[in-house]
C-alpha cells in the first residue's frame, strides 16, 4: 500500500489502467483533458485524441463491442456532441466494460455553459456514479466497468471541476487488483447491434428491464451510505458537495450518494423517515430534490442553495444559516480590500499568432462569428474582435446563416467566421460543406496554430503526431477546403500585419466564399529567442499607445515623457524583456519607428 496525492483526473487514469482498460478515446476539454493525457502514459494501452467527442465515443463503442474494457472521457458540452451515439448505445449495450467519464464545469471556469449532465444518465437510463474525491474516483472506475459489464450498458462517471482538479490522497494497492475479464472478440449479434426500427423495438423493453435491475443495485451499493449522527437534520448530497456538507454540518446525519442514477428510493425514504428536517445539497439543478419531491416526501434544497455557479463551503454555510439550522454563527463577512477588485482577465499570450489576425479583423468593420478556443479571449478590450461564440465549429455555419438572412438588408457589412485548426477538424468541416453546397458567401479564417491550444497544447489531426507521440499523417487544411469545393483558399502569416490586412480586404472584395488559413505555430510550443526580443527606443516613442491596442501582456506603460509644451501627459511604452517573444506586431503598428531589437 502506497499513499500518493493525485488529482481526480489522475486517479481516474490510474483506476482505468489498473482495471485493465485497453482502449481510450476522447477530445480534449477542460476539466477532463488530463485523464487521457495521464492514461496514455501507461504501458500497453491504446489512447487517442479523436477529432470530436462523437467520433471518440463511437471508437469506444466499437472497442467495447469486442469485450475489451474501454474508456471515453469528455467535458460536459462534449457529451452533447456525443449524445447521438450515446442514446442508442443505451439500447444496444456492449459486452466489454465501457466507462463514460463526463466532467461538468459548475461555475464555468472554462466553459460556455454550466449544464448539469446528470440528466444525461437519466435520459439514457444508464447507471451513474459520482465521486467525492480522488480515492473514490479511482474506485468508481472499476465499479463502473463492472456495472457496465453486468448490465450490458455504459456507465457514466460524472465528475465536476473541483473533483477533477482537486488533489487528495489515494491509497494505491497494486497487489489487490481484481480479475480483468478476457475479451471474447467481436461476435455477430444482429438484433443487438443493428438498430433498425424492428430490432430497436426489441431493445427498448430491455432498457426498461435494466433500469428496474439497477434500481435494486443502487439500494445495496456501498457507494450509497448513511452516516448517522444527530437526526434533527438529515442531508442528502453527492460529489464534491458531500465534502462541503461534512465540513459545515459536522453533527448532521448524511445520506451520501455515490450512485445517483438510479436513485436509491427506499434508502432515501428510510433516511427521510428518521430525520426531522430533510435537505438536499447539490450543485446546479435540483436533480435529486425533484425526484424526492415526486416521491411525495418533504424536502428542502434549492430554496437555500443556488442553482447558479459552483457551491463552496461558504455558500453551503450561508444556505444552512438561512434555513436556520447552522449550529454556529458565521463570522462577519469581510469586505474585499480596496483595490482588490482590479480586473485581470485571461489574455492571448505574448507572441500569440492569433493576435495579428484578430487585430486586423477588428479593423475590417465586419461581423465576426468567433468559435471555441483561445481566440475567444479577444472579446475583451482592446481587441474586441468577435461578435459571437457558441459552440465548436459554429462560427462557419452561423456566418452562413447571417449572410443568407442579410440579403436585401441595409447592412452591407462583410461577414467572417474565425476558428482554430482543431475546432475546424472538430466540427467546422461539415459547416464549410454547407456554405459551399448552398452557395453561401462567408469569409472563413482558420487560425492554424498547429496544436489544440486552449486546453493546454494537445496533438490533433493536423499536427502530424498522435496522443502517444507517434508520427502520423498531418491533415492538410487547404486540401480539405478545396475538396469541399471552396476553390479560393490560401495561407498567410498572421505575424505579417500588412499582408494579413491586405488578404482580409481582398476576401471582402471577392464575391464568393473563401478560406484564409493564418498559419503560425502556437507560442507555447517554443522557447523565447533572446535575439528576437524587442524594446522601446525612448528617443522615438511619443506615447501614442498604438502598441497597447494589441493587448499584448508584454507591453505596458512606463515613465512619463518629458513635456515640451503644456501637452497632455504621455508615457513611454515599455516591453517586458522577460516575456516578449519577438512577434514584432508592435513594431509593425508603431508609426514612430520606436520599437527595435534589444540586441541592436
Amino acid at each position: 500500500m502506497k499513499n500518493q496525492i493525485l488529482s481526480g483526473n489522475e486517479a481516474v487514469a490510474l483506476g482505468a489502467f489498473q482495471a485493465g482498460v485497453k482502449v481510450a478515446s476522447a477530445y480534449p476539454g477542460t476539466p477532463s483533458t488530463e485523464i487521457l493525457q495521464n492514461f496514455a502514459t501507461y504501458k500497453d494501452v491504446y489512447a487517442e485524441w479523436a477529432p470530436n467527442e462523437k467520433v471518440a465515443l463511437e471508437v469506444a463503442i466499437g472497442s467495447a463491442m469486442t469485450g475489451v474494457r474501454t474508456l471515453f472521457t469528455t467535458k460536459h458540452v462534449g457529451l452533447n456532441v456525443a449524445a447521438d451515439p450515446l442514446m442508442t448505445l443505451a439500447y444496444t449495450g456492449i459486452p466489454g466494460g465501457l466507462l463514460i467519464v463526463c466532467a461538468d464545469d459548475p461555475g464555468m471556469h472554462s466553459s460556455q455553459n454550466e449544464q448539469d449532465n446528470r440528466f444525461y444518465a437519466k435520459f439514457a437510463k444508464i447507471p451513474m456514479l459520482e465521486p467525492s474525491d480522488s480515492q473514490e474516483a479511482m474506485e468508481m472506475v472499476e465499479e463502473g466497468l463492472l456495472l457496465s459489464e453486468k448490465y450490458d450498458c455504459p456507465t457514466m462517471l460524472r465528475m465536476t471541476t473541483r473533483v477533477c482538479h482537486s488533489k487528495s490522497i489515494v491509497q494505491i494497492d497494486a497487489g489487490n487488483q481484481a480479475a480483468i475479464p478476457v475479451a471474447e472478440g467481436f461476435k455477430r449479434d444482429l438484433k443487438k447491434f443493428v438498430m433498425i426500427p424492428a430490432f430497436a423495438k426489441l431493445r427498448h423493453p430491455l432498457v426498461l428491464e435494466r433500469e428496474a435491475k439497477l434500481e435494486d443495485i443502487t439500494e445495496t451499493t456501498a457507494f450509497n451510505r448513511i452516516e448517522w449522527n444527530d437526526n434533527k437534520i438529515g442531508i442528502i448530497t453527492s460529489g464534491i458537495t458531500y465534502q462541503y456538507v461534512s465540513e459545515i454540518m459536522p453533527d448532521a446525519s448524511i445520506l451520501k450518494l455515490g450512485m445517483t442514477f438510479p436513485l436509491p428510493k427506499k434508502k432515501i425514504k428510510e433516511f427521510a423517515d428518521k430525520v426531522d428536517r430533510l435537505f438536499v445539497v447539490e450543485e446546479l439543478e435540483p436533480y435529486i430534490e425533484d425526484e424526492i419531491r415526486i416521491m411525495g416526501l418533504a424536502v428542502e434544497g434549492k430554496a437555500f442553495f443556488p442553482k447558479l455557479d459552483e457551491l463552496s463551503p461558504d455558500v453551503v454555510a450561508d444556505g444552512f444559516a438561512e434555513a436556520g439550522v447552522l449550529p454556529y454563527d458565521l463570522p462577519p463577512v469581510q469586505e474585499i480590500a480596496p483595490g482588490g477588485d482590479m480586473p485581470r482577465p485571461p489574455l492571448l499570450c505574448a507572441g500569440c499568432p492569433h493576435r495579428g489576425l484578430l487585430y486586423s479583423l477588428n479593423k475590417m468593420k465586419a461581423i465576426v462569428h468567433g468559435d471555441i478556443g483561445c481566440s475567444t479571449l479577444s472579446v475583451l478590450p482592446p481587441l474586441q474582435s468577435i461578435d459571437s461564440t457558441l459552440c465548436m465549429g459554429a462560427s462557419i455555419s452561423m456566418a452562413h446563416g447571417t449572410v443568407k438572412a442579410m440579403a436585401g438588408l441595409e447592412d452591407k457589412r462583410p461577414v467572417f467566421a474565425a476558428l482554430g485548426d482543431s475546432t475546424f477538424f472538430h466540427s467546422g468541416i461539415t459547416s464549410l460543406m454547407d456554405v459551399i453546397y448552398n452557395k453561401g458567401n462567408v469569409n472563413v479564417v482558420i487560425m492554424d496554430n498547429r496544436i489544440t491550444a486552449m486546453t493546454g497544447g494537445q496533438q490533433n489531426p493536423g499536427t502530424g503526431h498522435t496522443l502517444q507521440m507517434e508520427e502520423t499523417y498531418a491533415v492538410d487544411i487547404i486540401e480539405i477546403v478545396r475538396a469541399l469545393g471552396c476553390r479560393r483558399a490560401r495561407e498567410t502569416d498572421p505575424f505579417d500585419m500588412e499582408g494579413t490586412m491586405a488578404a482580409l480586404k481582398e476576401e471582402i472584395a471577392h464575391d464568393g466564399p473563401s478560406v484564409l488559413v493564418t498559419k503560425r505555430p502556437c507560442v507555447q510550443l517554443f522557447r523565447q529567442d533572446p535575439l528576437a526580443v524587442r524594446t522601446v527606443d525612448t528617443d522615438a516613442c511619443i506615447g501614442c499607445k498604438r502598441c497597447l491596442k494589441l493587448g499584448c501582456p508584454s507591453i505596458s506603460q512606463g515613465d512619463i515623457i518629458p513635456d515640451e509644451a503644456n501637452k497632455k501627459e504621455r508615457r513611454y511604452s515599455n516591453i517586458d524583456a522577460a516575456t516578449c517573444y519577438g512577434c514584432a506586431l508592435c513594431e509593425q503598428v508603431c508609426t514612430s519607428n520606436a520599437i527595435v531589437y534589444v540586441a541592436q
Binding site: I5, T30, P31, H109, S110, D133, R162, H165, S166, K167, S168, I169, I240, Q243, Y244, S246, E247, S312, P313, D314, A317, P327, Y328, D329, L330, P331, V333, Q334, E335, I336, A337, P338, G339, G340, D341, M342, P343, R344, P345, P346, L347, L348, C349, C374, L377, L380, P381, P382, M454, T455, G456, K545, L548, G551, C552, P553, I555, S556, Q557, A578
Partner: protein
Amino acid sequence: MTRENTKKTVNVLVVGTGGQGVITASEILSDVAMRSGFDAKKSEIHGMSQRGGVVTSHVRYSENVASPIIMEGEADILLSFELSETLRWLHFLRPSGRVITSLQKIIPPAVYAGMGSYPEEAQTVIKQRITDPIFVDALPMAEELGNPRLVNTILLGIASAMLDLPVDTWEAVIVERVPPKFTELNLVAFDRGRDIT
C-alpha cells in the same frame, strides 16, 4: 458560537497570476504535508487562468480534511506571488492570519484599456488590515541568486518557517521536483526564504 477548528486544519491560500508558479508551489506544500503524515487536499482552477489571469490554489492539511476549498476568513497563510493579487484574496485570511507577499507588480493590459487601475496603495492597505505582513522583493532576490524561477522556492522558504512541517521533508520534496542542476540553487533559495522570518 463560532465554527471551531477542532481538527486543527492548516489552510494556506497560494495566489498569483498565470505562469508565475502558483501551482508548483502548492504542489510542493501539499506533498510535504502528506509525507509529514497529514491528510492533505489541494484545489485550484486550471484552464483560462493559464493565460495570464488570476490563479489561486487552496492547500489544506490536518488529520482529516473534508473540503478541498478554504472558507473565507479561515486561511492561516496567504502566500502571494503578486502584490495586487494579495489584495484580491486578503478577505480569505483569519483575523490572526499571516501574509507573505512578493512585491512584484504585474499590471494587466486591461488597465491600459481603461478597465480599472492598479492599486498603488496595496502595501498600506495590507498593513492596515494584517498584523506583521511579510513583504519580500522576491524577484530581484531570485535574479541575484541566478534564476527568476527561484521566487517560488524563496516564498516557500518563508512559509515553511511558519508551518510546523519538518525541514528535511521540505528539502526532500524540493530536490525531487527540480532538475538536478538546480538542486543546490533551490536549497540556497529555500534557506534564504527561511532566514527572512
